[in-house]
């Protein structure tokens, strides 16, 4: 089918838009990557060609920056949050998806709405509570607070995946001789595993990127990577070449896992928000 002039025009616009989108999305990341390989002098310039160095990546792990423990904190906090949130969310999502009961809608709305409570409201009382319990500047405190936003999101996302699973398959397993627990183990869980993994990745990313709670509740022992960036904001200004290297440290793991599961990621992304 030949294109009309009108269609040709929009086809051209589409390509122009494609280029613009690519630049808009990729450039800030590209520039960070580039800067992380620059020596300080080059970093404070708009040079595209320079002699690259790996020094920045080495020095952020040395005094006075010491990103090693920060990385460790981020890993521990994110993994712990996911380890608690995902099993709890999976069970709750299954109950919401498969059972009818009084007050179900009200409960689901509460779970959904808890995502919308501003973090600053949550952190005020916990700051006082943790101060009294001597939990300030601990990883445990961060895990507890991260659950407040990771868990409700995970419930909704996993519920979406369970809703998409035809109930007939579970009925078939019941007729085949499974009890409730066996159905979950042999049929439901294996089938919603992609959804559970995707939710886990989402939860991990959310905790990993979390900034506000860590900024308020930690100052030394439990500082995470995102808050660690603040330490590169020194009296001499921001040390951009180090900042860029530290950014890589934050971005690369997230990019790597989300790229690996990109197909599920994209479908899961849209599942939480709209039906």
């Amino acid at each position: 089918m030949a294109m009309t002039r009108d269609e040709k025009f929009w086809e051209g616009m589409r390509w122009a838009g494609f280029g613009a989108t690519f630049l808009f999305m990729a450039f800030p990341i590209f520039w960070m990557i580039l800067t992380s390989f620059k020596v300080a002098r080059d970093a404070y310039s708009t040079k595209v060609f320079f002699s690259p160095t790996l020094n920045n990546f080495i020095s952020i792990f040395q005094d006075p920056y010491n990103f090693g423990p920060l990385l460790f904190n981020s890993v521990v906090v994110s993994f712990s949050t996911v380890a608690v949130a995902i099993p709890a969310a999976t069970c709750a999502a299954y109950a919401f998806s498969r059972y009818q009961f009084k007050g179900k809608n009200a409960l689901m709305v509460s779970v959904l709405s808890s995502q919308f409570v501003p973090p600053v409201v949550v952190v005020l009382p916990f700051f006082i509570l943790f101060k009294n319990l001597h939990l300030l500047d601990t990883r445990l405190a961060l895990v507890i607070l991260n659950l407040s936003f990771v868990l409700p999101f995970a419930v909704w996302m996993i519920k979406g995946f369970i809703d998409a699973l035809p109930p007939d398959i579970e009925s078939a397993a019941v007729v085949d001789g499974c009890n409730r627990f066996q159905v979950l183990r042999h049929i439901t869980l294996p089938l919603i595993m992609p959804g559970v993994v995707t939710s886990a990745v989402f939860g991990f990313i959310q905790s990993w990127n979390e900034f506000l709670f860590a900024l308020i509740l930690t100052n030394q022992k439990a500082v995470t990577l995102t808050v660690g960036l603040m330490g590169l904001h020194t009296d001499k200004g921001i040390l951009w070449e180090h900042m860029a290297a530290a950014s890589m440290l934050i971005m690369i793991p997230i990019f790597a896992i989300s790229f690996t599961i990109r197909e599920y990621f994209i479908s899961g992304l849209t599942m939480g928000a709209v039906k």
């Binding site: 007939d168 009925s171 397993a173 019941v174 007729v175 001789g177 089938l191």
Partner: protein, 392 residues
């Protein structure tokens, strides 16, 4: 092997909705029973109650001699084939078929033997290593069957198993399922919304509407002796013509008067409505019981009807003809040899032995055949069909 008995079985949902009200049904052992009805008639709910997937609100359900109200599905010795097949997408075909046996802790060699046997019966031995998504719709259907037969259950439950197949495959699978039933000789309860499927497959048909049983009987008895207007309209395609009418009396004879035409009632039917003169009824006649008048045949009406042809749908051997008489519209099936054209006038005669009268209130059949007994009438009907193809 076992039959099924439902006594006053009721299904009421927590929100108060009553899906099934006091259902009483006895399904003899080894019978092929079809539950048929339009959507919303609770046929699938009834099936799920037999399976134990839906709780019974009150009443009693027996499989064999055992009361199964509280027996979980896995202990009911049933197997079920679902409309969506409900294959386990993460398991191979072999594992799909073997799953039920594994859950019952059948020894491994035994499982292997049974799976092989079942897959041979269904001719899919070469598919066992694949995953469900690699199979065509028809093959998935077979796997679903295989999963059911491998367990040698007391009762097979089929929930619209053919509705996801294309028309050709569906016709083929009907025959295969019937053959399978003859071979396995096990009770089958089969749910469908398709009356043709019900007629071709069931040895007994249960017609349901809004959770209530309308009629139970053999395919031909439902066709010939529908007990009410719903069954009459539901069974048979194209469906029966229904025309409002009154009963008029003249010289001791009773007539059906539709406004557009008047037809004399045969004596045996007239006897049933003799004291109903002047009352309103619904006159029912199947399209295949209307023919073009050529020569009078026994049992066809003395009088003829003049009708105008609106639309002709030629089907080859015969044609569906939409006609008008006065302000009434109806359908007739007429042998294709007659050179009919739209807008022509045509003279028709009706087979008054096969007409029906339904009460306006309650829509019950008022002139059910009793003069000749059912079996002979079925025979007569078949004979008439043979006649027809001979002399037209």
């Amino acid at each position: 092997m076992a039959g099924i008995k439902m006594v006053d079985v009721k299904k009421q949902y927590p929100n108060g909705f009553v899906a099934i009200e006091n259902m009483n049904l006895e399904i003899p052992d080894k019978e092929f029973v079809v539950l048929v009805g339009p959507s919303g008639c609770a046929k699938s709910t009834a099936l799920k109650m037999i399976a134990g997937l839906e709780e019974i609100s009150s009443g009693e359900m027996y499989i064999g001699d055992r009361l199964v109200n509280k027996v979980p599905p896995k202990d009911r010795e049933i197997a079920m084939v679902f409309q969506s097949y409900a294959l386990y997408p993460h398991m191979t075909i072999y594992d799909n078929i073997a799953f039920g046996l594994k859950m019952r802790k059948t020894p491994k060699e035994e499982i292997d033997k049974l799976v092989k046997e079942a897959s041979e019966i269904l001719g899919m031995s070469d598919l066992l290593d694949r995953k469900p998504r690699q199979l065509s719709g028809g093959q998935r259907q077979r796997v679903a069957l295989g999963r059911a037969i491998v367990r040698h259950p007391q009762v097979f439950l089929f929930d619209e198993p053919l509705s996801n197949l294309d028309a050709k495959l569906r016709v083929k699978m009907r025959t295969e399922l019937k053959k399978l039933h003859e071979r396995l000789h096990t009770t089958v309860v089969y749910v469908t919304h398709d009356q043709v499927e019900a007629m071709t497959m069931g040895s007994t048909i249960v017609v349901l509407k809004l959770g209530a049983i309308q009629q139970v009987g053999s395919p031909l008895s439902l066709y010939s002796f529908p007990s009410n207007r719903f069954v009459a309209g539901f069974i048979g395609s194209p469906s029966m013509n229904f025309l409002d009418c009154t009963i008029a009396e003249e010289n001791g004879n009773l007539f059906v008067d539709t406004g557009a035409f008047r037809l004399m009632l045969p004596e045996d039917k007239a006897a049933k409505v003799r004291d109903h003169g002047g009352k309103e009824f619904i006159f029912g006649i199947r399209p295949e019981d209307i023919r073009k008048r050529r020569e009078k045949k026994e049992s066809y009406s003395e009088e003829h009807i003049n009708a105008k042809i609106n639309v002709i749908e030629p089907l080859g051997k015969e044609m569906y003809v939409n006609l008008s008489a006065g302000n009434l519209e109806f359908m007739a099936i007429i042998n294709a040899r007659f050179p009919l054209k739209p807008h022509e006038e045509v003279e028709l005669t009706l087979n008054m032995d096969r007409m029906h009268l339904f009460e306006k209130e309650g829509e019950k059949e008022a002139v059910a055949h009793t003069a000749k007994n059912a079996t002979t009438l079925e025979g007569a009907r078949l004979m008439a069909d043979l006649d027809e193809s001979d002399d037209d």
